[in-house]
């Protein structure tokens, strides 16, 4: 397998160097997360903490708990419903090709790449006028938006997965008298669980990471790019201000928490899929 035919151990030098490059930001974040408030300072950012302090995590959790809770009640239904619709789409597109399927699929694919900026204005107007008119405001409206924008990616993953399932399996089911929905319900759905985990993970991930729309105060959907941009931006500003100028406008909370939470979801899902 040694394809470059140079001393194998030499290959570890670039690998370890790159590993250090990838680890540096993580090191800074973990080390800073465990420092006590007084210890956090840009001049000593490379030093190890003088002891393990969980203050920052506790504080971050206290401040972020409402946002996190909002994320969860928004993300979980959005991911589940989006994955389910995606699996239905994928099933039809992979196994029950209808006339025009080859025409529609590229459009669904393109949906994956649409910049949020170009749909933001109509989306805001739709949420603020149409959806409010029918009484759908706040988080349900956002869930709807996330379901719709999650459909392309889930459709693609499910379509590719179902395309790899042998046609004979479906034929056999058909001979045994299953109709289209029966095949989906009894054959494809039961073997889709890894795909559901993957799809849900992806969806959760995308939702947690970039929420282009967020519910504002008193349940009125306003658009602000990122609930967490504001949170983190502000908190990191505290951090920087304190560290630079030595004054403390507020307690620094730490973005570690959200890395941590999204990593925990990924790890949990990866483990489930394994």
């Amino acid at each position: 397998m040694n394809r470059l035919r140079i001393g194998r151990n030499w290959l570890y030098i670039p690998l370890v160097a790159m590993a250090i490059f990838y680890l540096i930001p993580m090191y800074v974040m973990i080390v800073t997360g465990f420092k006590s408030f007084a210890e956090v300072d840009l001049q000593t950012m490379w030093n190890l903490p003088k002891g393990i302090h969980f203050d920052n995590y506790i504080e971050a959790f206290r401040q972020l708990a409402p946002s996190l809770w909002n994320s969860f009640i928004m993300v979980i239904p959005a991911a589940v419903i989006s994955s389910f619709l995606g699996s239905l789409n994928g099933f039809i597109l992979a196994k029950w090709k209808f006339r025009g399927a080859d025409f529609i699929f590229p459009f669904i694919l393109f949906g994956m790449f649409i910049p949020y900026q170009s749909i933001l204005i109509p989306l805001v107007i739709f949420i603020n006028n149409t959806l409010r008119y029918i009484g759908m405001t706040g988080i349900p409206a956002l869930i709807l938006a996330h379901i719709i924008y999650g459909i392309p990616i889930t459709t693609l993953t499910f379509r590719n997965y179902y395309a790899s399932i042998p046609q004979e399996l479906l034929e056999a089911a058909k001979i045994d008298g299953a109709d289209m929905l029966g095949i989906y319900r009894h054959i494809l759905l039961p073997i889709s669980s890894p795909q559901f985990c993957g799809g849900a993970d992806l969806a959760v991930h995308l939702r947690l990471e970039r929420l282009p729309v967020r519910g504002g105060a008193n349940g009125q959907p306003v658009v602000a790019h990122h609930g967490r941009i504001e949170q983190h931006g502000r908190q990191s500003d505290h951090f920087v201000e304190r560290a630079d100028g030595g004054f403390a406008p507020g307690r620094p909370a730490h973005p570690c928490w959200s890395t941590f939470s999204s990593d925990v979801t990924s790890c949990a899902v990866c483990w489930l899929v394994r």
């Binding site: 397998m1 040694n2 394809r3 470059l4 035919r5 194998r8 290959l11 670039p14 690998l15 790159m18 590993a19 490059f21 990838y22 680890l23 540096i24 930001p25 993580m26 800074v28 974040m29 800073t32 840009l42 001049q43 950012m45 490379w46 080859d102 699929f105 590229p106 694919l109 393109f110 790449f113 649409i114 910049p115 900026q117 170009s118 749909i119 933001l120 204005i121 991930h205 947690l208 990471e209 970039r210 658009v223 602000a224 790019h225 990122h226 967490r228 941009i229 983190h232 931006g233 990191s236 951090f239 920087v240 560290a243 630079d244 973005p255 959200s258 890395t259 999204s262 990593d263 990924s266």
Partner: protein, 252 residues
């Protein structure tokens, strides 16, 4: 009272004579160039290294891949600390590390550099996305049968020639998808820049301009024009790619 008169193409024409939008275009081009080329070179290099069947490959693979699991906001906040441009005895981040390692010539102003500051932000983006290019290149390398390498070796090709004449051409579909996926991401970049530098004019990109002019300035017409231009630029990249992918798929 909203003005509903038909504006024709004036929103678009005004944009192209708007100095801020011209800066946005320049920044997007620099960012895209540095980010896409950097991620592809680094990803390919790492994939070749990991393809040598070394011990601990799994460890390195997950390590290189993990930044992808982090959101741009978190990446941005950490890199904001790392790329702190403060000078003198307030040195910090990478600059502090460089001075402690006696590498003072490396100390620089990062994203506050004139014109090229946006390239520093592309560095953070490379950190985040090069693992992804590594993963798709590695999958591509693994799908190349060993017989092809053997045959080239028998014909007297050196290892470098094998990579140059056999492996790279076979990997061109992978390079294409990496180009497209990274390219369309860099056209849309927003959160990373906001997290590293906030809304600063020298680091402005179309997505930030669109945000500010629409929701802070309430110039919906100009905002919509930027949004559509973004959509068109992404579509120019993506539509041929989708057509190509679907065509090769049906051929198989």
């Amino acid at each position: 009272v909203p003005d509903y008169t038909w504006a024709g193409l004036s929103n678009y024409i005004n944009l192209f004579s708007d100095p801020r939008f011209l800066v946005d275009i320049r920044n997007t081009l620099i960012f895209t160039g540095v980010f896409v080329i950097g991620s592809i070179l680094l990803g390919f290099f790492l994939a070749v290294m990991l393809d040598q069947g070394l011990k601990g490959e799994g460890f390195f693979r997950s390590l290189f891949l993990f930044p992808m699991a982090i959101s741009y906001i978190v990446t941005g906040v950490v890199w904001r600390w790392l790329m702190n441009p403060a000078e003198g005895d307030r040195l910090s981040g990478f600059n502090l590390l460089f001075s402690q390692l006696n590498l003072d010539f490396l100390i620089n102003k990062w994203h506050t550099t004139e014109t090229w500051g946006i390239a520093a932000i592309a560095l953070a983006a490379i950190w985040q996305m090069s693992g992804y290019t590594m993963a798709i290149y590695l999958a591509g390398l693994r799908s190349i049968p060993d017989e092809l390498r053997e045959a080239a070796r028998i014909d007297g090709a050196g290892e470098f020639q094998i990579y140059r004449h056999i492996i790279l051409p076979l990997l061109s579909p992978v390079t294409l998808s990496a180009l497209i996926i990274l390219g369309h991401m860099s056209l849309k970049v927003f959160d990373l820049i906001i997290a590293v530098a906030g809304k600063q004019l020298p680091l402005d990109v179309p997505a930030i301009y669109m945000w500010q002019t629409t929701f802070d300035g309430l110039f919906y017409g100009r905002g919509a024009a930027i949004g559509i231009l973004l959509l068109v630029s992404v579509a120019v990249l993506i539509i041929p790619y989708i057509r190509y992918t679907l065509k090769t798929e049906t051929q198989q």
